[in-house]
Amino acid sequence: MKKLRLTFAISSLTFLVMLAISPLKDFFREWKWYQYEYNELVSDLPQRVKPAEIGIKQLWIQKLDRIDRCVTCHLGLNEPALREAKQPFRTHPKIDHDYEDFGCTACHEGQGSATTYRESVGKVVFWDKPVFPTEFMEASCAKCHKEREVPHAPILTLGRKLIEEANCIACHQMNGFEKQWTPSLDGIGSKVNRTWLVNWLKHPKAYFGKTKMPNFLLTDEEAGILTDYLMTFKSFPNNAALDGLPPALASEEERAKLLELGSTRFREARCISCHPINGRGGYVASDLGKVASKATAEWLYGYIKNPKRLQPGVEMPRYRFNDMELAAVVAYIQSEYVDYETAELPELPPQIPNPAYFEQGQALFKKYNCSGCHELGGMKKAEEMGPELKFIGGKKLYEIDFGSSNIEQTLPSYLVTKIKNPRVFSPVMKMPSYEFTNEEAQAITVAMLGNTDERIPEELKVYPKPQSTYSPQGEFGTLVEDLACFGCHTMFGRGRLVATDLTLEASQAQKGWISGYFKIPYSLRPILTERMPNLFASDAEIKVMVDYMEKVFIADSLERNIRAGRDEISKGRILYYEKHGCQACHQINLKGGYVGPALDNVGSRLKPGWIFHWLKNPQAFKPESIEPNNNLTDEEAEALTAFLMSLK
């Protein structure tokens, strides 16, 4: 009897405890603590903020097929009074995408359906997409934004630019990038000397700090064999051949006579707009500081005479030098741009090539996929591709080999480390080193993480503008090709934006001014590093270009007659100096700022219709311009135009 009662007591007690566990467990849910704390927090605020109802909350984002319960604890996302509150209650920054439309994990990643901190952040087994650290957040923009420049995502934009410039797609398949132009190596044996090539292959950036050529970390032996192999390619593309040197360059005495002319032409041609000299100057072309110790005089002469003949596709203009000027420029380069360090080294004993150098060199050339970028001897392009990276951002953690490294085991940290130290995870890896900085490696990682195979509804995606197919024909087309205008200028969406967009040039500038500018291209903006070179084009050629511009680079809608009476001019002057403070950025008579172009004589340069429309909305013509839009009335814009046109 006693035993029975005891058993009954114990079992009922156990039963009671078991019953109690479930409400207790519910009572002590992690998220409830946050909700209680939130309600306590908002009750202390001076402003009235609605307390949260206790319970799980979730956003169901149907279009992205996501359910996010983050809002269960992140309760103040829409509450401006909580801007400075501690997490998880802080207000969400204002962005262009409302979180109620897009949810949380579409951008932040993490496990949306989880209801504990640890699981929602996603650093748990079998969850491959933990919450992005802040520095990689912009990767999510890339899922939908395929355009080149993503607004408000500077890191992603930089990453995409770097991937394109480094020509990653020569070895890795990736969507949305254009292959870069790289020089053909045919004829390299007639162009460079052996010592230079060995040093270049071993460390390209030592010669040209901004080169896109990476360092393949070759051993001395490999560099030697590869050089011997490359030096056997003596003939140029399309069977072009070097002409030999003119008599004026034959001897040192002859050359000395030309130095002064050469130096003048070198400066007038503004070579340093594109070519740096020992690291200073432009950056779009190779460094000239030691070029005389790299390239032969014959090659320099032949190349400057007609760049595209020896190097098809190169964006160097064919300067209209006569033979004497050409010889003078080469003489000047030969006397000035010498690598004195290697020039003073004792001469090396003649090279005895490894008997199997050709086969071994070719094997190295193929192993490192040099043909991914460079043409050589009609070899098939890209024989040894690297891994495909189209969907690298969706790679699962178990697929990644971290080797023996002890870095954090996440995809972003793997990518950053790999980009910085390409062969760190395994010695058999072949990827070359680009010597990226931490910031660059981070930006590239951001761009790569955005390459996922996640299914995104088509209507959410933003694509880049289609490629321009503009291709000028006739005499003008030939000149544009020959003078490599697209290397700096954009016309109808094609070309670079190193210099101004020419699409509306004839609506913008007066005909006489354009012709004069070809003759003496002066600097409109004092702060620019890249300046228009003097191409020494003939009068006939200038006429062809100006006539074409007057027909094509013009829009009738930008014509406008501006009344320019004394009243308008003085009203414009007041607006210029006293209302809008234009002198902060523009100079007139050496007074004013350096930011925009000087406006002296602007009345002889620009057309009134252009000034008017430009002032009304500068970014309609140049989206990147930092000129403020002052929301001018027509009357104000006309008065300003009248004033500016009076400056002749």
Partner: protein, 153 residues
């Protein structure tokens, strides 16, 4: 007597159990209501990256806009020493001047950015950005200005 003892004993056990469970839960959700100060910030990845991690989203956006639009006069570090500054009189504002900057309300800063110097009775050399930058973007710039001169200083 015996039954009473049993009841006392059982209620005691029950309370002890309850306490145990509470303690166990409490370990997972630590003090101050379960907010884990040390882990809530995104974990710093083992790779060192630029100082973007120190800025809030708004400050980062502001920094980017600042470098594009404001830097020429106000300088990359906001000290009023941009390369165009020496052409200007009066000189551009030094945004690291805590005392001056902290006295200005957000609304006043926003007015200056959007309407320029002329809108707030200051030099016309400061252009108005209201036509170029959207309200959001102007707010980002203010957030960055607050970063340059934190109010707690």
């Amino acid at each position: 007597m015996r039954a009473g003892g049993l009841a006392r004993q059982s209620s005691f056990t029950f309370l002890a159990l309850l306490l145990l469970i509470a303690c166990a839960r409490h370990d997972d959700a630590p003090e101050n209501g379960g907010v884990r100060q040390d882990t809530l910030e995104p974990s710093s990845s083992s790779v060192s990256t630029a100082d973007v991690a120190n800025l809030t989203y708004e400050q980062r956006q502001g920094q980017h806009l600042f470098l594009k639009y404001c830097q020429v006069c106000h300088g990359a570090n906001g000290r009023g020493d941009g390369f165009n500054a020496f052409n200007l009189s009066p000189k551009p504002r030094d945004f690291t001047d805590h005392r001056y900057m902290n006295a200005l309300s957000d609304a006043r800063l926003l007015e200056t950015v959007s309407q320029g110097g002329k809108g707030v009775n200051k030099s016309v050399l400061m252009p108005s950005w209201g036509g170029r930058l959207r309200k959001n973007e102007q707010g980002y710039i203010i957030a960055y200005l607050r970063y340059l001169a934190p109010s707690s200083h």
